[in-house]
């Protein structure tokens, strides 16, 4: 069967199969993408994925923008954890420019990135609950994503598409309220997460629905270049935070949970455990911050770090740098860099080629959703419709990241 073209058998009187358009606006897709499935009763015989419904040509747009203007584009990749995307892009440019960050900025970034990871995993795991019919788990834990958004709001003013931080640090220091909110979150979230786990982890119906469904072997996962919680659920202990530590992740003590069978239940457990580990990381970062000199929130690189507006209006140097950065006239070396961060869904990579011009010569996003999703149609063959749908939820396919 040709896997690239959708097959419609409806007008074929000989066919015993039913063509079902799952998407592009189906409640289960949680985004805009389509699967054309051939159904034999409730069983999927074959499926073809159609993507590209919200393709916005980000990689092409990025070729026409100075570095600092690319951050808002990264917001719209995996919009469930935009700060990780923002930070990943900042770190890529910093790698290109050879900027070493002060430890305090690294720790602040770790806090924000781990909060983003928690919010991403909250969405994925509660959506698995929602798609298996346990709506309460979804709405109950979801309020903590709101608390995370309040923390973002305190730091950068935005909630969903955060555009948080700058190349070279943060635009401003975290204020007292932000720290208070983070501490409050660290205190309240574990109890709610525990309740959430109590409701689902040992729930017989939930286990029946998820355990042993959509099993993936490590070989299959690696051959499809899976990464992130999906890969770890199959038993491969690959985590960018450990294998290629960035943002001082090497200073932290945390564990990388792995599964055994790669089924939906393992993915769910891996994500849950990662939330616990993220909480540990945030707590450690908060403790480490106490030993760092206060008030440092960006590297001392005036030629690359966008100065504050007051500086721009009152200081000639700052005005010059501001003008140069905004016009893309920074002195960036001609080089190719690849930098990857551990996003909510896996290895989120930025491959940047700079030819010394105002804008990147070429920028490629390695979007984990796009890569993980490639197996979906193939996996669905032989599955029941219900299983395919929770399989899709457990892969946490975010349309923005899928299509870029």
């Amino acid at each position: 069967m040709n896997h690239n073209q959708p097959v419609y058998t409806d007008n074929d009187p000989q066919s015993e199969l039913v063509t079902l358009n799952l998407g592009p606006t189906h409640p289960a897709t949680h985004g805009v993408f389509q699967n054309v499935l051939q159904l034999d009763g409730e069983r999927i015989v074959s499926g073809v994925s159609t993507i590209g419904y919200i393709h916005r040509a980000f990689e092409k747009i990025a070729e026409h923008r100075p570095f600092y203007q690319i951050t808002p584009l990264t917001d719209r990749l995996n919009y469930c954890s935009s700060p990780i995307n923002n930070m990943g892009w900042h770190m890529t440019v910093e790698k290109l420019l050879n900027i070493t960050m002060p430890k305090r900025v690294d720790y602040l970034r770790v806090i924000i990135m781990e909060l983003a990871r928690i919010s991403d995993h909250i969405i994925c795991n509660t959506i698995i609950g929602q798609d298996t019919g346990a709506t309460t788990t979804f709405l109950y834990l979801f309020q903590f994503r709101e608390h995370i958004y309040e923390i973002y709001e305190e730091i950068c003013g935005a909630r969903l598409t955060t555009n948080i931080g700058r190349i070279g640090g943060f635009e401003r220091d975290f204020n007292e309220i932000a720290f208070a909110k983070i501490n409050k979150f660290l205190k309240e979230f574990p109890a709610a997460l525990k309740e959430f786990e109590n409701l689902l982890n040992r729930n017989r119906i939930f286990i029946d629905r998820t355990a042993g469904v959509a099993c993936v072997t490590p070989e299959q996962a690696l051959s499809y270049s899976w990464s992130g919680p999906l890969l770890r659920a199959t038993g491969v202990d690959y985590d960018v935070r450990v294998s290629e530590p960035y943002s001082s992740y090497g200073d932290f003590d945390f564990e990388v949970p792995v599964g055994t069978s790669g089924d939906i239940y393992d993915r769910y457990l891996v994500r849950n455990e990662e939330m616990w580990q993220s909480l540990r990381l945030i707590q450690q970062a908060m403790d480490k911050l106490k030993n760092e000199p206060a008030g440092i929130f960006h590297a001392d690189v005036p030629e690359f770090y966008l100065p504050a507006k007051e500086e721009v209006y009152n200081n000639m140097e700052a005005l010059i740098y501001h003008f140069k950065i905004v016009m893309g006239e920074i002195d960036a070396p001609k080089a190719e860099v690849y930098h990857a961060v551990e996003g909510g869904n896996g290895e989120l990579g930025f491959y940047l080629i700079n030819d010394g011009g105002r804008t990147p010569y070429r920028l490629h996003f390695r979007r984990p959703s796009f890569i993980n999703y490639q197996m979906f149609a193939h996996m669905s063959e032989g599955m029941l419709l219900s299983d395919a749908i929770i399989n899709m939820s457990s892969m946490n396919i975010i349309a923005g990241e899928l299509d870029a």
């Binding site: 409730e42 019919g133 029941l384």
Partner: protein, 345 residues
């Protein structure tokens, strides 16, 4: 048949019909409030004090909405579907004894529309018909999701009716009658059937969940797989009828469970209360007790819905055919043997 009898029955029918509609209406409100309570939210609170008028606003909205009939749907069947669902949901209340005989102005009026001697079979018949509304609606919509949902609903209802019927047979061995009135009278005071048939009750309750398409058996309308299920294509009050029918079904199921297993309008110390309250107020008090029991069951339905995930289609079938039916048969055998031993000696 005197004219007073006709008027009396007509009034009773009107009252019961009204009560079931109001309860179904406020069940939607209760469902949202219970869900909100379980999910740490507020629930509807805009329309009136604590959102009390929300069901009225929803009803009004349903009537005002544009009615859309898909051009490739079977128009006539498309309209019959919700009507049938509503009709079968409503007529189930006809045989339920709401209270003992009430005396008003020297006239004895039974608080039951009709006491037919096959009341239980009637209930079963009506409940079985209920699936036709869903099937016809799903089929007539000419939508694949609706069709899948209709198929699920049909096979689910047929499978669980068998287990339900078998769990009732054990109860009939205990009660020796099919008339709901006599079943209730037999549970006078504290002699509730659930004490004799606890296992049968659990089986019956599980099947009731499946028969009313409530979670965890709400496969026909599981929104994340089948969008809206059989009512995907419906809008305006036709959709309202389907949603309403579901709540009336829940109400009737709760009433049947309370009648069969929890003594209906019987309560401990009812004889003393009957003397104390007199022949007019005592039956009404019994009726109030009956409604309290119904509300407890309705709450339980909601509690379950907002707590546990739903089954997969094949797991549902396995549970019905491989677990519930054998258990129900075992329950019959054990009950029969025990009754035989007790009556034999």
């Amino acid at each position: 048949m005197d004219i007073a009898f006709v008027i009396e029955k007509f009034v009773l029918v009107a009252i019961i019909f009204g009560i079931s509609l109001v309860i179904a209406m406020y069940s939607t409100y209760a469902e949202r409030k219970v869900a909100a309570f379980l999910q740490d939210r507020l629930g509807p609170d805009r329309a009136g004090p604590a959102g009390m008028f929300q069901p009225l606003a929803d009803g009004l909205k349903m009537f005002m909405k544009e009615e859309i009939i898909p051009s490739n749907a079977s128009k006539w069947l498309f309209m019959v579907g919700p009507g049938l669902a509503m009709l079968t949901a409503c007529i189930g209340t006809a045989v339920i004894p709401w209270g003992s005989d009430i005396t008003i102005g020297g006239r004895v009026i039974p608080l039951q529309v009709t006491d037919i001697n096959v009341g239980l079979l009637y209930i079963f018949g009506v409940v079985s018909l209920g699936v036709y509304g869903v099937m016809i609606g799903g089929w007539a919509s000419n939508n694949k999701y609706s069709l899948l949902s209709a198929i699920r609903a049909a096979s689910q209802n047929i499978s669980y009716e068998i287990a339900m019927g078998l769990s009732i047979i054990a109860l009939l061995l205990v009660t020796n009658t099919l008339s709901l009135r006599e079943i209730v009278e037999g549970q006078h005071g504290w002699r509730w059937n659930v004490l004799y048939q606890p296992f049968g009750f659990i089986l019956f309750m599980v099947c009731s969940f499946a028969e009313t398409n409530r979670a965890p058996f709400d496969l026909p309308e599981c929104e994340t797989e089948l969008i809206g299920g059989y009512h995907t294509e419906y809008s305006s009050m036709k959709l309202g009828f389907y949603l309403f029918a579901e709540y009336i079904n829940m109400f009737v199921s709760s009433a049947v469970m309370a009648t069969l297993y929890f003594g209906g309008y019987n309560y401990p110390g009812m004889d003393t209360m009957a003397v104390w309250l007199g022949p007019t107020w005592a039956p009404l008090f019994g009726m109030a007790i009956f409604f309290v029991k119904i509300f407890v069951f309705i709450f339980f339905f909601m509690w379950v819905r907002w707590t546990i995930p739903r089954f997969r289609y094949d797991q549902l079938m396995n549970l019905g055919w491989k677990v519930l039916i054998p258990l129900a048969i075992a329950n019959i055998v054990v009950t029969a043997v025990v009754i035989g031993i007790i009556e034999g000696f």
